[in-house]
């Protein structure tokens, strides 16, 4: 009888509705509907205030031929590739950190601090670090006898790389933390067995530890690549996409079109393309990194 009561109470439709409705309502109204509307607004000629005029696929056709859009997409993809490659550095640091280093716990806390700061504060700090005449970086370089250090953020050939350094600074601790946690989960017995068989620390790291945390590594590949396609705050504050579009990414291009040029129709189309591109890339990366043989231990 008790279980009957239990089942009845726990499948009360009204209660289920009451408990899930607030979450579903908010997500439907503020996430799902806006995403759909973004595709719809992309079909309009619209300045954000006046009446909309339906122009069919024109915005999307223009976007496909818009070199500024493709350049911004290229920059986003370059940052994504840099981010994925830099995972190898973080993995190496985590491997060292997890190999019975004294003070490992303290070090990973130090590494994590930048990750906790807002992208705006990070951006403003690095604008100062990169300041051509008075910044920390050029002060050090000039102190080392380099007379004409680069202008960093003002140099279109360098700016994208210069922006990537604070991105590393921001996320290094995060990935090191994740890898470290995964490495610490590897049973000690496996490492001990390999040692008895005469494996060197490097062999143990590459042949035993890395394969064992491959699933975590794959998750971070997805996180870093998909996350990179959404970069905005840091770049918007550091360079505003400049100089002359040299650091423009998809989200900052969309933002400028809408909130600086008041081209809401075209901005929406770019926003919708950003969504589609992100989803396609997510699916592809997940397919590529899907494990055929799950590693058991």
């Amino acid at each position: 009888m008790g279980l009957n009561v239990m089942n009845k109470v726990m499948s009360n439709k009204w209660i289920i509705f009451l408990y899930t409705f607030p979450a579903l309502l908010l997500i439907a109204v503020l996430i799902v509907i806006p995403l759909i509307l973004s595709g719809y607004f992309g079909l309009m000629d619209w300045d954000g205030i006046g009446a909309m005029e339906f122009i069919g696929l024109e915005n999307y056709i223009v976007a496909l031929q818009d070199t500024k859009f493709w350049e911004s997409a290229l920059h986003s993809f370059l940052l994504a590739i840099f981010s994925a490659l830099s995972l190898l550095i973080y993995l190496a640091v985590a491997l060292i950190l997890a190999s019975k280093i004294k003070g490992a716990n303290f070090l990973r806390k130090i590494y994590l601090i930048p990750m906790l700061l807002s992208s705006v504060a990070i951006a403003q700090l690095w604008v100062k670090i990169y300041n051509p005449s008075n910044g920390m970086l050029n002060s050090i370089l000039m102190g080392l006898g380099i007379d004409n250090p680069p202008a960093w953020l003002a140099d279109p050939n360098i700016v994208l790389y210069a922006i990537f350094i604070p991105i590393i600074w921001q996320y290094a601790g995060f990935y090191i933390l994740i890898y470290y946690a995964a490495l610490k989960n590897i049973p000690e017995s496996l490492v001990e067995a390999a040692k008895i068989d005469g494996a060197t620390p490097l062999q143990i790291a590459l042949k035993i530890k890395v394969p064992l945390i491959m699933n975590v590594f794959k998750v971070t590949i997805v996180l870093s690549i998909v996350g990179s396609l959404k970069y905005f705050d840091l770049i918007y504050v550091m360079t505003g996409g400049g100089p002359n579009g040299a650091s423009e990414v998809m989200a900052s291009y969309m933002y400028k079109l809408a909130f600086a040029s008041y081209d809401f129709g075209y901005g929406s189309a770019i926003g919708f393309l950003l969504l589609i591109i992100t989803l396609i890339v997510t699916v592809i990366i997940r397919k590529l990194t899907a494990s055929k043989d799950e590693i058991q231990y």
Binding site: M6, P22, V29
Partner: protein
């Protein structure tokens, strides 16, 4: 040979540590310097005579308003998010119904999408209901956009709650609301504290929603407010440094006290995806 190897590893780790921490120390130092000191001296020098007036200047400039807005918006949005997310997670994991998987799927959509794609329609919606330049728009967007990650973190704990706890309560004649508010919520306190931390960090650091939806200074939060300040002080590096320190100090202090919990939260928010 082995010894040298170990020393090299430590050196490598120390270089990474310096790279991670030195920019922040440099920031603290130049927030206490004059322009002459910053421009002429070497970046490693301690401030000769700490210029606390840089901080006084920034507070007189009105950073307190931004600071207060960041605090109340962060706290209010966090509380609402966690309540709504806990209720939904409870219904999804503990109650018996056909569409629980589907509802969970809809909530999780928010984890994959770039928020910028929703920005123009959101702006338009808030404009139509007169919520542009109203902090309510910020509170409800923060609440909504943090729901997916919060549910994701809560999910693991909720699925491990023993059935017996619920059975005992229901058979004793407790209502579902009582079960949820008096039993489930209290026993989920540890995991809730993890979600509190993640929500607080996200809300405190959020920029683009405030930058887009808020135009009056009196409603701006720190991330957007410091942009104004820095524009205004232009070449006064000390004041800019003080502004940045004030904006990052609460998070750094929180990290000093709750570092383990924060690391746990950050790991939970990443790996379960």
């Amino acid at each position: 040979m082995r010894r040298i190897g170990y020393i090299l590893l430590y050196v490598a780790l120390a270089i990474v540590a310096v790279f991670q921490i030195f920019p922040i120390i440099w920031l603290f130092m130049f927030s206490l310097k004059t322009n002459q000191e910053i421009f002429a001296g070497n970046p490693f020098a301690l401030p000769t005579d700490p210029k606390w007036e840089n901080y006084a200047k920034v507070f007189e400039g009105g950073i307190g308003t931004y600071f207060w807005n960041s605090i109340w918006i962060t706290v209010v949005a966090t509380v609402i998010t966690i309540l709504i997310a806990s209720m939904a997670t409870f219904a999804i994991t503990r109650m018996k119904w056909k569409f629980s998987g589907l509802v969970l799927g809809i909530i999780m959509v928010g984890l994959m999408i770039p928020i910028h794609s929703a920005l123009i329609p959101l702006y338009n919606m808030f404009l139509n209901v007169n919520l542009i330049d109203n902090p309510l728009s910020i509170v409800i967007t923060y609440t909504t956009y943090n729901l997916p990650i919060t549910v994701m973190i809560l999910l693991g704990f909720y699925t491990t709650i023993p059935r017996e706890i619920e059975e005992a309560a229901i058979i004793d004649g407790s209502s579902i609301h009582r079960l949820f508010f008096r039993i489930i919520l209290p026993i989920s306190a540890p995991i809730m504290s993890t979600t509190v931390i993640i929500n607080m960090i996200y809300n405190w650091n959020e920029f683009v929603f405030v930058n887009t939806f808020i135009s009056s200074d009196k409603f701006k939060t720190l991330t957007v407010g410091i942009q104004n300040f820095i524009g205004q002080y232009m070449t006064d590096w000390g004041a800019i440094g003080a502004t940045l320190v004030i904006s990052v100090l609460p998070i750094i202090l929180a990290f000093l006290f709750f570092s383990d919990k924060i690391m746990e939260g950050i790991t939970a928010s990443a790996v379960k995806g």
